[in-house]
């Protein structure tokens, strides 16, 4: 399959389904694994790198890890294709910017993706729409077991799964829940959430993971520790914390509706108006507008847009997606024009 075949649809995790999907955009788990008998990638020579890539690629395809699996060789992919895969959360920024023999395998629904030769030899990722930690874990656990039967993962009973960076050693697991928290952001209560979450061994990150900034009121909450707690324990901490944050966000929304209804409604309708009428929209601005409108749908103010459409627009209006859609490279002014016209079309139901 070619990457261009992906550009007019999105992964299943943007469907806006699953528990608490008004606030929880997605639940994601990744596992870091390395093959025993090979050095980690910073010390691997070209030959070893190629061997690891080919061993993992063949095993993933042979064991039919996901339905209708696609494989992209990132060493040969264009810059736009790599950015496109980052925007879809199929690979990390680091993987796109990396060097040498490396790739990504993903299933048709884009729920499962396997990065080969990123920081570790293998990074398995499963992402689902809504607050679906349990089913996400079941899927990734099964994949890990299937691959673990064919491959010898580097493991010690003291330190667990051995990883290139000691921050991932142990379970090699990172659970990330992406939340849309506009009301907590507006009322500045979000700082309190950060503090409370930090005390529980969790961290807050931006939209594209580590070191990325928060935009469109989208936050990723993930575990900081990977060692000393079992996968189940880490999952249960996240499972118990997220509903508290979502109910806090709901309370903040209610308070906003009660205390400053006119201002809130004005803000939301103005954003909706901008999306439907603007002729140029920057990538920064669209996140803010979509965030406001998304909240408008959630509090029942706007009823003529599907949640799925809004979720998808967060991804489909990103730079590489617009360029794929248009089939050519665009500078940022051209992108702003195309972005505005694409959003107008989608919102008019055309």
């Amino acid at each position: 399959m070619e990457i261009k075949d992906l550009s007019d649809n999105t992964g299943e995790w943007l469907r806006g389904t699953g528990k608490e999907s008004d606030i929880v955009i997605s639940s994601r788990i990744r596992l870091a694994r390395n093959i025993a008998g090979y050095p980690f990638l910073s010390r691997a020579n070209l030959k070893q790198r190629r061997e690891i890539e080919s061993l993992l690629r063949k095993t993933i395809i042979e064991r039919k890890i996901a339905q209708d699996i696609s494989y992209v060789n990132l060493n040969q992919a264009t810059a736009i294709d790599k950015l496109f895969l980052v925007e879809r959360h199929l690979i990390s920024k680091e993987h796109a910017e990396g060097e040498g023999e490396r790739g990504v395998a993903f299933g048709k629904s884009e729920t499962v993706s396997l990065m080969i030769n990123e920081e570790d030899h293998l990074r398995i990722q499963v992402i689902r729409s809504g607050f679906e930690i349990k089913s996400t874990w079941d899927t990734i656990d099964e994949i890990d077991n299937i691959l673990g039967e064919s491959l010898n993962f580097a493991f010690s009973s003291r330190f667990g799964f051995l990883t290139a960076c000691p921050t991932n050693v142990g379970t090699g697991m990172r659970v990330s829940v992406m939340l849309h928290l506009p009301a907590l952001g507006m009322t500045k209560h979000i700082e309190k959430v950060f503090n409370a979450v930090g005390k529980l061994g969790l961290v807050v990150r931006g939209l594209y993971g580590e070191g990325t900034k928060v935009s469109g009121d989208l936050y990723q909450i993930s575990n900081q520790f990977a060692l000393g707690k079992s996968e189940k324990e880490i999952l249960s901490i996240i499972e118990s914390v997220i509903p508290r944050i979502t109910s806090y966000e709901r309370m903040a929304r209610k308070a906003l509706v009660m205390e400053s209804k006119d201002q809130l409604e004005d803000r939301i309708w103005r954003s909706y108006g901008m999306l439907k009428a603007a002729r140029m929209i920057t990538s920064e601005e669209i996140l803010q507008l979509l965030s406001q409108v998304r909240m408008g749908v959630n509090i029942g103010l706007i009823d003529d847009i599907e949640m799925q459409t809004l979720n998808e627009l967060f991804v489909l209006t990103l730079p590489a997606h617009l360029q794929k859609l248009q089939g050519c490279e665009l500078d940022s002014t051209q992108r702003n024009v195309i972005r505005a016209s694409y959003v107008r079309k989608r919102l008019d139901g055309l």
């Binding site: 390395n34 025993a36 090979y38 050095p39 980690f40 910073s42 010390r43 920081e119 656990d141 890990d144 077991n145 299937i146 691959l147 673990g148 039967e149 010898n152 993962f153 580097a154 493991f155 010690s156 009973s157 003291r158 330190f159 667990g160 799964f161 051995l162 290139a164 960076c165 000691p166 921050t167 050693v169 142990g170 379970t171 697991m173 061994g201 520790f225 990977a226 060692l227 000393g228 707690k229 079992s230 996968e231 324990e233």
Partner: protein, 166 residues
């Protein structure tokens, strides 16, 4: 100004001596200054300063600084400056230095989660034992003695089959 001792090199060290209330200025090049006054310490090199700083912050680095992994060739200092290990064996080779780091990062240094699907029965049992011990500690902390007794029996049962230890 030339050095008043060798009269060749440029004087870069200027000393002020006070002897019996009389002030006297003296000018030496760096080499002669070393000879003239033995309490004039040589300036520490940047690497000396760095080493002493490192010793203060992370004493483990000095101890480990000469250790190099025989498998992948990475030195402990390279690991500390890059933050990435070179191969799985490093966890053993650098264990002494890594333990305090891992403790600080994770609040623990004992894995209690999953084991690989193809791991031998011994590893599986060892892992189960570690998990049970952890649960036992937690049960005692919560004063849930009924649960603790149950866990203790399980541990006894298992320890008949498995080699104890780290």
């Amino acid at each position: 100004m030339k050095c008043e001792s060798c009269n060749k090199k440029l004087a870069t060290v200027h000393l002020t001596e006070i002897i019996e209330n009389e002030k006297k200025e003296r000018h030496f090049c760096e080499d002669c200054a070393q000879n003239v006054t033995n309490h004039f310490p040589k300036a520490p090199s940047p690497s000396d300063i760095l080493t002493s700083l490192i010793n203060q912050v992370s004493p483990e680095i000095r101890e480990m600084s000469k250790t190099t992994c025989p498998v992948c060739g990475i030195s402990y200092l390279e690991f500390r400056s890059q933050g990435r290990l070179g191969c799985p064996m490093d966890y053993n080779v650098f264990k002494k230095g890594l333990l305090p780091l891992i403790e600080r990062m994770h609040g623990s240094s004992q894995h209690v989660g999953k084991v690989p699907a193809n791991a031998g029965a011994e590893i599986v049992q060892k892992n189960e034992m570690i998990q049970l011990r952890k649960e036992l500690n937690e049960a005692v902390e919560r004063e849930n003695y009924e649960k603790a007794a149950e866990l203790r029996d399980k541990i006894y049962e298992l320890s008949g089959n498995v080699e104890d230890g780290d």
